[in-house]
Symmetry: C2
Subunit: 311 residues, 2 copies
């Protein structure tokens, strides 16, 4: 299963009643943060999720509302007693950005590895998470991300027993290796069930809609997408500034056939995003206004849901 | 009069229930911010004080809990429509620090001037505010500051009338210039009252107590001083880390003969600073635990108090 926590829903600048847009993903003992504006670490502390297991920090782009909290988060991770390396991923320009911001946190008790990603890159993250990057359309290099938690194929114990495979070989078979014993070989293929669908979460901010986005987010269990402005009437402003209005985000969700859409990254001028929800729902009914500290536990399709619900 | 607002009381890292230590000063249409850790701009917004009149940002030292909020604050000041220059003051090393942090806010609609200060420097700030810097004892170059709002001498209208000074010359006399009319000269000295005491506020963080501090803060109407740890029992830890315990801050207040002490910059481990207040009050009775958004309006001694009280 994959846990998702929305840490905030604001764009441009943090407000007293709205943290900046950022997301935590957690699976298999690894936590990933997507974007870290000013105050994200405070919202993170309020969420109750720990810092020690932070394996990666993923940046969509270099704008301050997505990056200014990086020094503080690196410092707080240090104080969580982490000593394992932390990787920072982001678009072209992430290396000098991290170098600059680390001016005030030069010494850390763990290694920081920065990796710049480009359009189409795919990274196998610890925790069986596959991250893909798509170049999107903002004022500066910017990436959308999809995260897929692969589901291993089921080990068919009864088949292994029928084939008289000794128990000490089961682990190898489970991991996909063929095994040889008593002069005969059993292929993993023989004892593993059919491929099973994984869990997919996509994060799209900041950008205009692009033609590739529906396919990129296709089938996501959850799409978290920017909606800087509420209504179609503001599309011109959104276009000028490289953002979306709610119905545009909903259209990506609809065409991408995702299960659920959380809107985020609201303009400070957008005081009550709920006012414009219906307009988006006419395009894609499963649209929700993101809420800070909303947590969703997404089980595998054949796994019982132990989550706390979310929307 | 001088308005003071404490924006937070935390040290080391921002916490969900405690903003980082920072102070706003306001006089004569100019606002000054002292220190800006992560989240300071959010607390500032919550205070209701505007950003447009921000003439200066004053940094005590380069540690992240005093500086990481700088990019966000520069950005928010830009959005407040300010076009007048903003000066940033701080100890040795402030120039490269600001250069590094401005990596994510390279373009601003106003000029940013950085001025590094050294022990004993005195700066005349717009708003008739005189700022003095004292080198203190922390792990990195660090300055304590005092701010004195000078009180102009009273213009004795009745004396000017007795001397038959035409009204059009009063303004010059008020500003301290001698005037000549009808072939005779009247000295400003003749019509101005005796010197009047000003208002003094001092800010001391982060540092061990130093021998110069009591004289430096002497006579302050308000001393805002760090108290990272509560009790004498923690003095060894405070000493190791370049901080103070409450009674040490109170001793500086007592020896400096200040009127009031606000403690700030509490360790995240110090959950209830009130618990240790009595120990500090035994040294200096006018000691108070700082409270975020506490505002004090300090009138000149001969000016009626229009403030909203504070502690």
């Amino acid at each position: 299963m994959l846990d998702v926590c929305l840490l905030g829903t604001g764009g441009m600048m943090p407000m007293p009643d709205r943290w900046l847009s950022a997301v935590l993903l957690r699976t298999g003992g690894h936590t990933y943060l997507i974007d870290c504006g000013e105050g994200t670490q405070i919202s993170w502390k309020r969420s109750g999720w720990g810092f020690t297991q932070t394996t990666g920090i993923i940046l969509t782009h270099r704008h301050a509302d997505h990056t200014a909290g990086l020094p503080g988060i690196l410092y707080t991770i240090a104080h969580s007693m982490r000593t394992d390396p932390v990787s920072i991923y982001g678009p072209f320009g992430t290396e000098p950005l991290v170098d600059a911001l680390r001016y005030i946190v030069p010494r850390l008790p763990y290694e920081v590895n920065v990796k710049e990603l480009f359009n189409g890159d795919c990274v196998a993250l610890p925790g069986e998470l596959e991250m893909r990057a798509l170049e999107v359309s903002h004022q500066v290099p910017c990436l959308a991300y999809s995260f897929t938690l692969r589901r291993s194929r089921e080990f068919q114990r009864e088949v292994a027993e029928e084939l008289d495979v000794p128990v000490e070989h089961w682990r190898a078979l489970k991991s996909g290796q063929d095994v040889t014993f008593n002069g005969r070989t059993v292929a993993a293929e023989e004892v593993l069930g059919p491929p099973r669908p994984g869990i997919k979460v996509s994060m799209v901010t900041d950008t205009r809609p692009t033609s590739e986005l529906p396919r990129f987010v296709h089938g996501s269990d959850l799409l978290i997408c920017e909606g800087m402005y509420g209504t179609e009437e503001e599309r011109e402003r959104a276009d000028e500034r490289g953002h979306m209005v709610f119905p545009e985000a909903a259209e990506i969700a609809r065409r991408g056939d995702v299960k659920k859409l959380w809107l985020t990254h609201f303009s400070p001028a957008l005081q009550d995003p709920e006012e414009h929800l219906e307009e988006a729902r006419r395009v894609f009914p499963e649209t929700y206004i993101g809420v800070a500290h909303e947590t969703l536990t997404i089980p595998f399709p054949d796994e019982p849901d132990e989550g706390d619900g979310g929307t």
